[in-house]
């Protein structure tokens, strides 16, 4: 990472700390904002957050590794998460999953070679009545079938 990038990141985090406060409890909102801005939280960002909140870097990493929606290494620009919990599974998740995999040419847990889409499983999205459901970036799609899922994917490609 370049020094300039580092300094910019530090400034950004300082602004966030002003916004959310220097408490331990501000950690998650700060991390969420960094995640939103950069799509991942670099090891340098983690250490800066730790320094400014007066906690240890490993504690920041511990929190990031706990939450599925925070990540410490870069992912694709768009993240597609398909619900893998039992109701969606019964509602036909399997067919949707294989259709998406075929369309993108990657397996779950992988990123397309052009870095556009990362495909993941998510646990219950709370859409059990209208499954199968998936969440693309921040938007939830429900009542999926293979064709609908493929067309949603193609829109973001």
């Amino acid at each position: 990472m370049l020094v300039m990038e580092k300094n910019q990141l530090t400034e950004e985090i300082e602004v966030l700390i002003k916004k959310y406060g220097k408490e331990r409890s501000s950690l998650i909102p700060i991390l969420q904002d960094i995640q939103k801005q950069h799509s991942y939280i670099s090891d340098y960002a983690q250490q800066e957050v730790a320094r400014l909140l007066d906690i240890h870097p490993v504690e920041v990493f511990s929190v990031i590794s706990f939450y599925a929606f925070l990540n410490s290494s870069p992912k694709g620009r768009n993240i597609v998460r398909l619900c893998q919990t039992i109701t969606c599974d019964l509602a036909g998740k399997k067919n949707v999953a294989s259709a998406i995999e075929r369309e993108l040419g990657i397996k779950f847990g992988q990123t397309t070679p052009d870095n556009k889409i990362t495909l993941e499983y998510a646990n219950c999205l709370g859409m059990c009545d209208v499954g199968p459901a998936m969440i693309v970036n921040d938007r939830v799609y429900y009542k999926l079938d293979p064709e609908k899922a493929v067309s949603i994917i193609n829109e973001i490609r």
């Binding site: 331990r24 090891d43 340098y44 983690q46 250490q47 320094r51 007066d54 906690i55 240890h56 870097p57 490993v58 504690e59 990493f61 511990s62 590794s65 706990f66 939450y67 410490s72």
Partner: protein, 639 residues
């Protein structure tokens, strides 16, 4: 950065003890409870665990440790509390009302048995190939609760690779039971913050920042996590096989130096209680194992006092008389390699405050391969130098690239107390029965000042004994009763002492006459010193110095990385507790008082080495080459 006074542990994790001594006798200050139908009175706020222990009722624990905050994660200590729907974790239950507790009901026993079975179902590895065999808390519990089969299965495949990147600490996470004692040790007790639980659910394990190797993160190698690990998940990097090879090789001249703290604690590995000093029995045991010569690290501890004391006098002289602005005060001790690495990581801007004197172990190492080799006519290449230390960081220290001033690796192997005990047992020796023997020449037996280096405040006390005599020209006994500098003793986290030097100065002793002309410049000066043990306390002092507080006006500060000093080091016998450390310290102080020779500068062998070998005196050219070192600013950022 503002300093936080209290420990960094979240409020919810602190023990719920109401500390109000007037409270106890008052109405409502105590609660009467029933434990197993026996009525007892306990102070309000006592945990069920403490109440039971006070009344000799055994409750098994895993995640609980006396040095650490309450966690309540392992649930092995559950008990039945009448009126509660579920079992309660006794370590995390403060008593505030008259409750009825049952500690051994079918429900309790079944729950505990299930917890052990569940822990074993995830615990990979066999007991007989484990370093903690026979000293493992999980194994002990399995025996206590009669585990005869794996109710919930047993892992057959290793899940995590062993991390043996570090010179000091090896992590075998397959054996981890997630009690988080190491996490609380590293974060709360030491404030280093290397280990934390990462990932979630079934994938949770203890790991470092970004899952890096231990050698690549800010670990200071203090080994406190090893001392508190209930299983074999954390253990020291054991060089005993290489040492056996060297002993069995007739070409090699294998020498060993023993530090005072292992000698005060090794008896614990042989079934003695804490606080039995084994100094002289150890000498004969080591000779019988096959070591060619046995030396006392205290000799170089005495040398450290002379070198570090002279350095302090020179620093003060340059700062006070020559008004040199480049001189950094306070001077920090550099005997504790854990503390040195802590400073290099977290306060690299204060590296110049560290005394450039090496630790006693490394001083001995460079003397053995130069002075001793010459004197005995041995090729230094054939000398294998081993150091018995209470410390895991010493293993890292002897592997520092700058520690080769003799032209060879100064100290070849750092051995911990536990590993030495294992070697002694391997040789079929029962240590307590060994005859008493003295140390080998040319270093001989050392002074009591070197001996007390093992306890927190010891370096300071040894330095004060010498400085008082050097500067005031009086006997230390005339200033402090029996030469015991009591204000620097004891286990408070931070000790601060002021010593007014007065106006009566003595003559400058011969040994440093060429460095300072007289003591007039010290007239009326008050010497301010401080002592800290455990890096959490060191951090408090460093933050105070940064903020320009009272510690920034100190002249000399002793830091030890481990709680209690070396006697509580990361290589000492397991378990550890405040009580055990206190007994070990008492053993050291008792041994010191039994000696005739109790001041470093009176050690005849130290005087002789300055006459024979280090001829240009303390902090001279030769001693700078062999006995002093430099440090590396590492910084806290992990690349």
């Amino acid at each position: 950065m503002e300093t936080k006074e209290a420990s960094r542990a979240p409020v919810s994790q602190k023990a719920h003890i109401i500390e109000n001594k007037d409270f106890e006798g008052k109405i409502g200050g105590t609660v009467s409870i029933e434990i197993n139908e026996k009525k007892v009175q306990v102070p309000l706020g006592t945990t069920i665990l403490d109440a039971c222990r006070k009344n000799n009722i055994h409750i098994p624990t895993l995640c609980h440790h006396e040095d650490l905050c309450v966690a309540g994660v392992c649930r092995i200590c559950v008990v039945e509390v009448e009126g509660m729907r579920t079992l309660q974790a006794s370590c995390a239950f403060p008593i505030t009302s008259p409750i009825k507790i049952k500690t051994s009901t079918p429900m309790v026993r079944k729950a505990r048995r299930h917890i052990i079975d569940l822990l074993l179902s995830e615990h990979y590895g066999e007991c007989y190939s484990c370093v903690r065999n026979n000293n493992c808390e999980l194994q002990k519990l399995a025996k206590e609760y009669g585990v005869d089969s794996y109710t919930f299965g047993h892992v057959q495949k290793s899940k995590y690779p062993v991390d043996n990147s570090s010179f000091s600490v090896i992590r075998d996470i397959d054996k981890c039971i997630l009690c988080k004692r190491c996490v609380r040790t590293c974060i709360d007790l030491q404030e280093v913050g290397v280990l934390e639980a990462v990932h979630r659910g079934h994938d949770t394990h203890i790991n470092t920042f970004m899952e890096k190797d231990l050698a690549d993160v800010v670990c200071i190698n203090c080994g406190q996590c090893i001392n508190r690990c209930p299983t074999g998940a954390l253990h020291a990097n054991d060089p005993s096989d290489e040492i056996w090879d060297a002993i069995d090789n007739p070409k090699k001249h294998v020498v060993i130096q023993t530090a005072p703290s292992p000698r005060a604690a090794i008896g614990e590995e042989f079934g003695l209680g804490a606080g039995h000093s084994m100094t002289y029995q150890l000498n004969s045991a080591l000779r019988r194992i096959g070591f060619n010569a046995v030396f006392d690290t205290n000799f170089t501890a005495d040398l450290t006092i002379i070198e570090e004391g002279t350095e302090l006098i020179l620093r003060l002289y340059k700062a006070v008389v020559e008004k040199n602005p480049q001189i950094k005060l306070p001077q920090f001790t550099s005997c504790s390699p854990g503390w040195v690495k802590y400073l290099e990581h977290f306060y690299p801007e204060y590296i110049d405050n560290l005394s450039s004197a090496k630790s006693p172990q490394q001083m001995f190492g460079s003397l053995l391969k130069t002075f001793y080799a010459q004197k005995r006519g041995i090729n230094p290449e054939d000398i294998v130098s081993v150091a018995v230390m209470p410390c895991s960081a010493k293993k890292f220290e002897c592997n520092r690239p700058e520690m080769t001033d003799s032209g060879y690796k100064d100290v070849d192997y750092g051995l911990t107390t536990r590993e030495l005990a294992k070697m002694i047992k391997e040789a079929g020796i029962n240590l307590p029965e060994m005859p008493k023997e003295h140390f080998d020449d040319p270093f001989g037996d050392a002074s009591g000042a070197g001996l007390i280096f093992g306890a927190t405040g010891g370096v300071m006390e040894a330095a004060i004994r010498t400085i008082v005599e050097f500067v005031l020209g009086k006997k230390t006994e005339d200033v402090f009763e029996k030469a015991n500098v009591l204000p620097v003793r004891g286990f408070e986290g931070i000790k601060y002492v002021e010593l007014p030097l007065g106006t009566e100065m003595g003559p400058v002793p011969e040994i440093i006459k060429h460095l300072v002309p007289n003591w007039d410049w010290l007239k009326g000066v008050t010497l301010k010193v401080a002592v800290a043990h455990g890096t959490a306390n060191a951090k408090k002092i460093m933050e105070d110095i940064k903020a320009g507080g009272k510690f920034s006006e100190c002249h000399f500060i002793e830091f030890m990385a481990c709680p209690g000093g070396c006697i509580g080091g990361g290589g000492q016998p397991i378990p550890t507790s405040p009580e055990i450390r206190k007994k070990r310290a008492e053993a050291i102080y008792a041994e010191d008082e039994s000696l005739e020779l109790r001041k470093s500068h009176e050690n005849p062998n130290v005087v002789r080495i300055y006459e024979e070998y280090l001829t240009d005196g303390p902090c001279g050219h030769i001693s700078h080459k062999l006995l002093h070192t430099h440090y590396k600013p590492r910084g806290r950022y992990i690349a």
